[in-house]
C-alpha cells in the first residue's frame, strides 16, 4: 500500500497486496460492498417445493433461503428478532415454520413472526407484525436466486450483459438443475482470490495445473483438436467478466460442449442464432458474476482418460467464495445438469466434475494451495508494500469482430489481465476506497 492508502492503481495495473489480508479492508467489504451487490444465494431447484429451504451466507450474515406456502421465495436473515440466536442450523430441509431454540419465538417460511410464548407477558409492548425476520430483496435469473440488502437497481440491470453469458450456460435448454447439494469447505484464503482467478486468470493454468500436461492428459486440449484454442474475453458491466474458449475452427468433435443430441432442439428454442453460433465451438466458458460467484463450463477433460466413457462430456459448475474473516473463506461448489440430460451422460459429467473440483478435486486443490499461500504471504507488514502485477494487456484494444455483448478482447498468447483489473476497479468503487482515501 502506498503512503496515501491507495489500494489500486488501475491505469498501471497494480493491486495493493494489502487487500488480500487486512481487517480494515475486510470490514469495509462487509459494510459497503456486499450489501450493495446482488448476491447469489441458491438455485431454485434446491428448494423446489413449498416449505423447502437452504441456509446460506450474504457477506458474513447467515440467511435462510426459503419457499413459502404459496411458492414465493424469501431470503431471510437467519437471526432471531428476540435476542439474536441463529434460528436454523441445518443446511437444508422442509419446514412450515422455524422455531427459535432459545425462547421459542416462531416464524413461518415467509419470515413472519407467528408465535411468541407467553405473549401476554409483553402486555401491549409487542407488535408481531413488526417483528418478522429481516428480509432481503430476492429475484431470479434462469433459476439462479440472487438477493440484495440495499438494491439500487434491479437484478436484471445489475447483471447487464452478463445475462447473455448466463443464457449460454443456465438458460440454453428447458432448464438446469443442481446435481445435488454443494460441496462446502473452509479454507485459509481471501475470497477475492477465487473470484479474480475465475474472472480472468487464464495465465495460471499451465503452471498451477501443469500436472495434467506432464502426465499427457488432454485437459484443455480436447481430443481431435489441432491448433491453438481461440479465446474471447468479455469485459462486461459491474466488474463481471467471462472468458470463452473455442476449439480451433473446423475441429469441433463435440459441438455445444458435447451436450447430448437429444438436447439440441432445446438449444434452438432457447438461444438466438448468435448465441448458438458462439456456443457451438466452445470448450471452456469461465467467469465471475461480481462479487463472488464464479462459473465454469468445460469440455476440457477427456472422460476416457479418467476411466469414463469414450464419448465427450462436459460439466457445468458454480462456485462461490464466501468471506469468513480477512484470511478465510467458505468455498461452495455446485454441479449443474441440463434437466433433460440422459442418465448416462449425467453420471459421466458428474464424475468428471467430482474428480477435478471440490475439496478433493485434482485441479482445485492446487488453486487452493496457491490462494492460501498468497493470503498467508501478504499477511505481514513488509509484504503490504508490494504492488501486485495485473499488468498484462494494458494497451490491448477490444476486437471489432465480436457480435455478442460487452467489450471483447483476444490476444495470442491469450493472456491479459483486463477482466481482473475491471473486477478490482468495481471492488474499489463499492468499497468507497477511491484514490487517495486513507484507511484507518
Amino acid at each position: 500500500m502506498s503512503e496515501d492508502g491507495q489500494l489500486l492503481r488501475f491505469d498501471e495495473g497494480y493491486v495493493s497486496a494489502r487487500i488480500f489480508n487486512d481487517p480494515d479492508v475486510h470490514r469495509r467489504e462487509l459494510e459497503n460492498l456486499f450489501p450493495q451487490c446482488w448476491l447469489f444465494v441458491a438455485h431454485e431447484t434446491e428448494i423446489p417445493n413449498p416449505g423447502d429451504y437452504v441456509t446460506r451466507q450474504m457477506g458474513e450474515d447467515p440467511v435462510i433461503v426459503s419457499r413459502d406456502a404459496a411458492g414465493k421465495i424469501h431470503v431471510l436473515l437467519n437471526v432471531c428478532r428476540h435476542r439474536g440466536r441463529k434460528i436454523c442450523n441445518e443446511d437444508s430441509g422442509c419446514a412450515t415454520h422455524f422455531r427459535c431454540g432459545y425462547h421459542g419465538w416462531t416464524y413461518d417460511s415467509a419470515g413472519q413472526l407467528t408465535g411468541v410464548p407467553f405473549i401476554n407477558a409483553y402486555g401491549t409492548t409487542i407488535d408481531r407484525a413488526q417483528l418478522g425476520l429481516y428480509e432481503a430483496q430476492a429475484d431470479t435469473y434462469h433459476g439462479l436466486i440472487f438477493a440484495c440488502r440495499k438494491p439500487t437497481e434491479s437484478l436484471r440491470d445489475y447483471l447487464g450483459p452478463m445475462a447473455w453469458v448466463l443464457d449460454l450456460l443456465f438458460g440454453r435448454t428447458d432448464g438446469v438443475e443442481v446435481g445435488g447439494p454443494p460441496i462446502r469447505w473452509v479454507a485459509d484464503v481471501n475470497w477475492k482470490l477465487g473470484a479474480s482467478n475465475f474472472v480472468g486468470d487464464g495465465y495460471h493454468i499451465f503452471t498451477t495445473h501443469g500436472f495434467s500436461t506432464q502426465l499427457g492428459l488432454h485437459a484443455l486440449k480436447p481430443r481431435g483438436s489441432t491448433g491453438a484454442p481461440v479465446g474471447h474475453s468479455l469485459a462486461l458491466s459491474h466488474g463481471h467478466g467471462a472468458s470463452l474458449v473455442s476449439s480451433p475452427s473446423g475441429t469441433t468433435e463435440a459441438p455445444f460442449f458435447g451436450l447430448p443430441k437429444e438436447l439440441w432442439p432445446e438449444l434452438e428454442r432457447h438461444l438466438d442464432a448468435e448465441q448458438r453460433h458462439v456456443l457451438e465451438p466452445l470448450i471452456v466458458a469461465a467467469g465471475n458474476v461480481f462479487p463472488n460467484l464464479s462459473f465454469l463450463d468445460t469440455a476440457g477433460h477427456t472422460p476416457e482418460e479418467w476411466g469414463g466413457p469414450p464419448w465427450p462430456v462436459s460439466f457445468l459448475t458454480l462456485r462461490q467464495w464466501q468471506p469468513k474473516g480477512p484470511d478465510r473463506m467458505e468455498a461452495l461448489s455446485w454441479l449443474f445438469i441440463d434437466k433433460n440430460t440422459p442418465a448416462e451422460w449425467r453420471a459421466a459429467s458428474r464424475e468428471c466434475y467430482e474428480r477435478v473440483f471440490g475439496v478433493g478435486g485434482t485441479f482445485e486443490q492446487d488453486d487452493l494451495e496457491n490462494w492460501a499461500s498468497i493470503t498467508e504471504g501478504v499477511g505481514g507488514d513488509w509484504a503490504r508494500e508490494l504492488w501486485l502485477q495485473y499488468r498484462m494487456g494494458l494497451d490491448l484494444q477490444p476486437t471489432d469482430d465480436w457480435r455478442g455483448p460487452g467489450a471483447c478482447y483476444t490476444a495470442s498468447p491469450p493472456f491479459f489481465d483486463i477482466l481482473e483489473r475491471l473486477f478490482y476497479q468495481e471492488w474499489q468503487r463499492l468499497l468507497g476506497a477511491e484514490h487517495g482515501q486513507v484507511l484507518r
Binding site: 442450523n89 441445518e90 443446511d91 437444508s92 430441509g93 446435481g179 445435488g180 447439494p181 460441496i183 462446502r184 469447505w185 473452509v186 479454507a187 485459509d188 484464503v189 503452471t207 498451477t208 495445473h209 501443469g210 500436472f211 506432464q214 502426465l215 492428459l217 482418460e305 479418467w306 476411466g307 467458505e330 454441479l335 458428474r350 464424475e351 467430482e354 474428480r355 471440490g358 475439496v359 478433493g360 478435486g361 485434482t362 482445485e364 486443490q365 492446487d366 487452493l368 494451495e369 496457491n370 492460501a372
Partner: protein, 171 residues
C-alpha cells in the same frame, strides 16, 4: 452375511491388509498401494450433509467428495510424481489410524465386508494446524491371485464442512 471373529485366520489377514496399506499410504508408497486395488475398484466418499431427521448422520445420495476408479486413482498417484503437485509440496506427513475393525463374509462370493474407523492426521510444515479427517470405511476385500485386494471403499466422513485447504491425500 456372517460375522468373522478374531479367531478366524481371515480376520488376521484383514488386519494385516489394512495395516499394510496404511503403511504404504503413510510412507509415500502410493504406487505400491495401487497394486492392492482390484481393476474394477470403486473408491467413493459421499458428501456428508447437515440436515434434520434420522438419528443417523446423513450423506448425499448423488454428490461425492471422491468418486474414483482405478484410472482416476492412478492419475492422483501419478500426479504426486510431477513437479506440479503443489497441494502436496512439500509432501504432507500422514498417519492413518485404523481401528474398530468388523469383518463379515459376503454370501457366496468369498468376498469380505470390512468396516473400520479411520482417523487420518495430516500435517504440512510450516503450518502448525494439522488437518484431521475422521470417518468410517466400508470396504469390500476380494482375494485375487492368493492375496486380498480392495474391490470397494466407501468413506463416510464425519465432518460436513471441513476446515482444510484441500484433501489432496488418500483416505
Amino acid at each position: 452375511m456372517s460375522a468373522i471373529w478374531p479367531g478366524d485366520p481371515r480376520y488376521a489377514e484383514v488386519l494385516d491388509f489394512l495395516y499394510h496399506e496404511a503403511e504404504l499410504l503413510d510412507s509415500g508408497r502410493q504406487k505400491e498401494w495401487l497394486d492392492l486395488l482390484a481393476e474394477d475398484v470403486i473408491y467413493r466418499a459421499p458428501l456428508p450433509l447437515n440436515v434434520k431427521g434420522d438419528a443417523q448422520p446423513s450423506y448425499s445420495e448423488d454428490s461425492c467428495i471422491f468418486s474414483e476408479n482405478i484410472a482416476s486413482l492412478r492419475i492422483r498417484v501419478d500426479k504426486l510424481t510431477t513437479e506440479y503437485a503443489w497441494a502436496e509440496s512439500p509432501r504432507s506427513r500422514i498417519r492413518h489410524h485404523v481401528s474398530n475393525v468388523r469383518v463379515s463374509e459376503r454370501s457366496g462370493s468369498g468376498e469380505l465386508d470390512v468396516i473400520s474407523n479411520v482417523l487420518v492426521f495430516r500435517s504440512r510444515a510450516p503450518r502448525t494446524t494439522p488437518d484431521i479427517f475422521s470417518g468410517e470405511r466400508r470396504d469390500v476385500l476380494r482375494k485375487l491371485a492368493g492375496a486380498w485386494h480392495l474391490a470397494e471403499r466407501l468413506i463416510l466422513l464425519d465432518q460436513a464442512v471441513m476446515e482444510v485447504r484441500h484433501l489432496a491425500i488418500l483416505l
